[in-house]
Symmetry: C2
Subunit: 278 residues, 2 copies
């Protein structure tokens, strides 16, 4: 379904734009934002945002446009969940329901009709990047932050042929072992933990999923959610070790979980993806 | 009055911080944000934001920290008005009262007790930059956007010995001739238009105010407020012509009034101030 342009702002000679379309995956309208550089677009990186975010956070706060323009890459930033629904418990907490999809295809009653964000990103958005923005299918990569870092790792590892490269800021790498993940997976996937593992990057590596490229991760050491055990970065490192999956984790002293951290290191992530896409 | 640190985020090796203090000018608490680079701080630029903004907009959206860090400059971004008051009509419109001080010292009943933002910026903040952040008084410059661009031009021209350089994005350069300015000045200064001219950059140039340095302005040609006659950029250019006041106005095709425009060209403004401060 062709998306409708809502707003456009010239930025670094390209365009920062906001869009809306009817999603077949979520059976709702879905919003997303893009930055499209001027001239030839050599590839596209999908950005997945974290808890409570919308399609606006990254495009407004990360300062990525400068580097995307330099490398002639576009970015597409979907919303973090379906909107406009009234499912049981959907709007009661910041870490479940609206703004908190965890990028799974839900199985539980009610949610299973709409919260199909894995399919939305991995298939519907992947196709839309080609059809609406004329990016070849072998020029698409994925990255994200926190819950969106989890989404980027899981989608990139499970659909490793589709995505040329993967990176993440402060990702939730082992959600089946973290309070946020346990709550969300129980709500979206039900009590059977066997259904959870396909949405856990650390478990995916253990069960044989691999991506050809080196996965790039940046993690602040002063990140309160890192300190509280929501992210569990080293579990992913440990599962990769000796597995053949290459991963580079940059631990950053004194940096926290915020977009100020992302803005500081986004240039390196754009360069990482450019090295695979251009 | 020493300000209290509310939040701190490591950013580009320096610190993005949020502060609060008791202002003697406004007789309220006032908030401001800063970015302070690591190492020696060579100077400080005051950023004044536009209508509806707070101390957060610039520091979150402009992407200035990278360039400030490169030039070893700090920035300080005050709020756009006093807060927490209940003056007549203060919270009824986006373009008057809270979030819309226009950086004047008010004369009208009620407002004159608190809306002293000219003095707040030109004196109180100017002193605080020295006392709290140890920046020498001859290493301070001023810039802003829209209503804040007006503030930067007016404060910089009237206190030209205090501020080493002036720049503005999309400034309201002739508010006595623009709907926004007429409304605000009537409300803050009263009907006597003779009191208005000292807060109008174009009129200040006409009456002999000068700044030694070249004033830098960036203006988008697709800016809706430029098109609607709120900004009146050419009036300022005309008043400078032949006056001895040097001004460089960069008109930018297709750029609008947003922070995407500011983010695109902020590097040039930081370089401009660095050339005077470092």
């Amino acid at each position: 379904m062709e998306a409708t342009l809502l707003k456009s702002h010239k930025t670094f000679e390209g365009k920062t734009q906001f869009w809306e379309h009817d999603s077949t995956s979520t059976k709702t309208k879905m919003k997303f934002s893009t930055f499209i550089p001027t001239g030839l677009v050599k590839g596209c990186v999908i950005w997945l945002s974290g808890l409570t975010c919308t399609d606006e956070n990254f495009i407004t706060k990360a300062g990525a446009q400068k580097y995307l323009a330099e490398h002639q890459l576009m970015v597409i930033c979907p919303d973090t969940s379906p909107r406009g629904l009234q499912l049981p418990g959907e709007h009661e907490a910041y870490d479940f329901g609206s703004g908190a999809s965890f990028y799974v295809d839900a199985k539980t009653e009610g949610y299973n009709a709409h919260y199909n964000m894995f399919s939305y990103v991995a298939n519907e958005l992947f196709d839309l990047i080609q059809s609406q923005f004329q990016v070849p299918k072998n020029k698409i990569s994925i990255m994200g932050h926190s819950m969106g870092g989890h989404g980027a790792l899981v989608i990139g590892l499970r659909e490793s042929q589709k995505f040329q490269s993967i990176s993440a800021f402060s990702p939730i790498v082992n959600p089946t072992k973290a309070p946020w993940g346990v709550k969300a997976f129980t709500g979206y996937l039900g009590e059977d933990q066997d259904n959870w593992k396909q949405y856990d990057a650390t478990e995916l590596i253990r069960s044989g999923a691999r991506h050809e490229g080196t996965i790039l991760i940046d993690q602040g050491r002063a990140d309160e959610f890192f300190i509280k055990g929501q992210l569990l970065t080293s579990n992913f490192e440990n599962s990769c070790e000796g597995s053949g999956q290459k991963v580079k984790v940059n631990y950053r002293d004194d940096y926290d979980h915020s977009y100020y951290f992302i803005a500081t290191f986004i240039e390196g992530h754009i360069k990482h993806h450019a090295s695979f896409l251009t």
